[in-house]
Symmetry: C2
Subunit: 128 residues, 2 copies
């Protein structure tokens, strides 16, 4: 890779800084958290209920990574107990729109995927 | 969840079959493999070079999962040695278009992410 190449982010290059960012937003829980936050501001526990199945630890890690990368805004009110709210930044909104597009597509095409799987497994069984 | 809900795929529900499918296409190596295959048909080793950094084992697993789900077509010619080629199915093409859109966005906005990280780390250091 010469110097000029390094000026243009390329996720296909193993050391490009864009690759971990892609992994941060496309990660298992990040996709769901970002897509959920399109619905509005969430407190931590409400978001945890929305992203059904995520552990407290994984959601906290995911949100911190997304906050550090500038996709999520964390707002803590200095009350007792502290009230902490999460929302999308403008960058996060654009990202979440693209993820929601992917999610809707996967949900809509689930019957095709299940049919493909059945055909694959039957072909394997026939050759076994 | 009542019976009617189960008829409509919802990735936010932990047991919905759409959730693992989303994870299959948005997985670390799957995103890159699907996006690479938009460029055309690849033999295994050529695809492995394109998806810089992937191990032989991880790429093989990724491609098998994507083939079973109907996103990737595997074609083996009965030559010696066997010539195996991978390409996108129509379903895979649509998926890969959405992933490429996400990749291009992340690459384009990398400077914003790096700036956000720097601001985050500086704010943390100031409070430490």
């Amino acid at each position: 890779m010469d110097e000029l190449d390094q000026l243009v982010p390329d996720v296909f290059a193993r050391d490009c800084a864009s690759r971990p960012v892609l992994e941060h937003v496309a990660g298992r829980w990040a996709i769901l958290a970002l897509a959920a936050l399109r619905e509005g501001t969430f407190r931590f526990n409400a978001l945890r209920r929305r992203v059904d199945g995520v552990s407290e630890k994984m959601l906290a890690q995911t949100l911190q990574t997304l906050e550090r990368d500038g996709f999520v805004h964390r707002r803590a009110e200095p009350t007792i107990p502290p009230k902490v709210e999460y929302s999308l930044t403008p960058l996060g909104e654009e990202t979440a729109d693209k993820l929601a597009d992917l999610i809707e597509f996967v949900e809509a095409r689930l019957p095709d995927v299940l049919a493909a799987r059945q055909a694959y497994d039957e072909a394997r069984a026939a050759h076994a």
